[in-house]
Symmetry: C3
Subunit: 250 residues, 3 copies
């Protein structure tokens, strides 16, 4: 009996809308209504705020949760609702729907098989400001239920030009969690490697209890990224760091 073999496709939502307010719920309801029996799961709603670059490295790390057939509705400003079209990226069997602002850059780059379509369909009355609800959510539901909609094939080279310049790994903090731990855009480093953040040199460890209280360290987090933490402390405060802070080899 193979007990790691899950079945069934899912729809994931990844956004910077926050847990409060009506926006997450409104967009989610549009997907749920359109997608019938396909389960819809909020993956996270505090993606790096209006920062598609940091969000792109985070989403790529989280993609290990996705299986072929899954649909990922991902919305991070800016560029949502702009003149640039929304896109559907199919990467190794997983479909990503969202803005063409670089959010899917690392997904695209790391996939072995990828195609892009631009979304041509428009609702009769789209809000100037809420393409997540009015365009991306219905399209995600249609993709999840194999329904057709107006779209055009797009050349890979025509995707967000600025994002094509981004490095393969981002040596910066890309997310700060509730405890002040710092996720970086680089993959996990060996425990014997040194990292430097704001002039602090850190060694590696397997987990928190392997260092003294108050000590900083880097470790392989549960989505494969190099994460910087302080045992019994807040790394963001101890190292005066936030999204965008550089992390270098020591």
């Amino acid at each position: 009996m193979d007990q790691s073999g899950y079945l069934g496709s899912m729809i994931f939502i990844f956004s910077d809308f926050g847990v409060n307010g009506p926006y997450s719920g409104t967009m989610r309801s549009m997907v749920m209504r359109g997608a019938g029996d396909v389960p819809v799961c909020d993956l996270m709603c505090d993606a790096p705020d209006r920062n598609p670059k940091a969000a792109s490295y985070l989403l790529a790390a989280l993609s290990r949760e996705f299986r072929a057939g899954d649909v990922v509705l991902a919305v991070v400003d800016p560029g949502v609702g702009s003149v640039r079209k929304g896109i559907v990226v199919e990467a190794d069997g997983v479909s990503y729907i969202g803005p063409d602002n670089g959010l899917f850059e690392l997904i695209i780059r790391r996939a072995s098989k990828v195609t892009i379509k631009s979304i041509d369909w428009r609702p009769e009355a789209a809000s100037a400001s809420f393409h997540g609800r009015d365009i991306f959510a219905p399209v995600a539901a249609w993709v999840a239920t194999n329904q057709a909609f107006r779209a055009s094939p797009m050349q890979l080279a025509d995707r967000c030009v600025a994002a094509q310049e981004w490095p393969d790994e981002l040596d910066e903090v890309i997310y700060v969690d509730t405890y002040g731990n710092l996720m970086t855009g680089i993959s996990a480093r060996g425990q014997d490697e040194k990292l430097v953040i704001n002039n602090h040199v850190l060694g590696g460890a397997r987990t928190f209890s392997d260092v003294h209280p108050g000590d900083g360290f880097h470790y392989a987090n549960s989505i494969g990224l190099c994460e910087i933490a302080v045992n019994c402390g807040r790394a963001d405060q101890v190292f005066a760091a936030g999204i965008g802070t550089r992390v270098c080899a020591g």
Copy 2:
């Protein structure tokens, strides 16, 4: 092919319970258990806290998300668990379940066809403090699944008397979002109209990028309300405003 034609009814939850604590989850679980296959979606759980007046204008604006057949479980204090009965409002085919404290006043007033029932059913052991879980949630599930329960027709005129005095549009801030943007209880104004909030005169714009950084403006938000914002700033701080702050024509 009509791609705007979604199918299937849904249950929405609108409350002031907050994202933390066991109350949102407890109430949601009662609806999910009772409603079987009907999808349940948290619309928002940070409705104006203990403020059914502000919440009433917000819920009415959000009602554009609902379709005939949908069920909306809405709970905002005070008045929940008091001697006044809970009600079921059917407005243009959408059923709203919650307290008779004015929360549905604007829904009722703007509907073209509306009926009200008072909820007579009582569980054998209702908590003194949690009618959302013990009364409204089971009733919402029964309405969504077409099951009978004890209720009595109610005259429209017998609904919450204080709320019947509220204006058709509320010229006040009714919600402050995570970014400090100020939703008002008035519908979106033309871009050439001026608004005044705490002695600041604001012009209209289509969206943030149409004004200079630091400038305040009003615009049509994605649920049709007039919203006040500051490009690259927090309107709540710049204008020292919060829920209840007056907004006047300039």
Copy 3:
């Protein structure tokens, strides 16, 4: 017609992961994917942080929401991902999956019929730090769908030894809600009993409106616990209290 007779099992999630970040969503998605049609409901994600003792009393109080056949995935650090195995506790027909760190101690003690199994199954590549996603979530899905997995019967006496010393009721604050109300680990007291918290003597009341604004009191909260509150105030601030603060008979 028996209108209190809900049907169908559910899966509940109880954790200290917080509403932000990818961890709640990632673990939830693993349960949803594995459990097919069984509804999954987040009960709360701000359980007492890294405090399985306080969380154990809270979870036991919340267990009144569960019905025979339900599955509860509960994860509170520390001890998750340690050498101690995860466990499945079946208590009066409800299955609890999580770490053997005392989190289920009060559930076990208050049940009339209880069995424990240790989880022997391991995924091929489990994260060092995220057993919630990699072990407990799949097991919860299998339990909910009656699938077999590798597990061993465990003696009750072999469960977390430290927890076996905990009292039957905990005379301390175990949770502070958004409004500063203080849930305690003792069951609701009669309104004529006095309680003392940090030298403040409090009488009992039925609900907030039964005391003067600014007055503190204790009352029976909606999950049967003795809760301390201040009408129109924050009890945590007025009484300088937090999780762990003692509450004594007055």
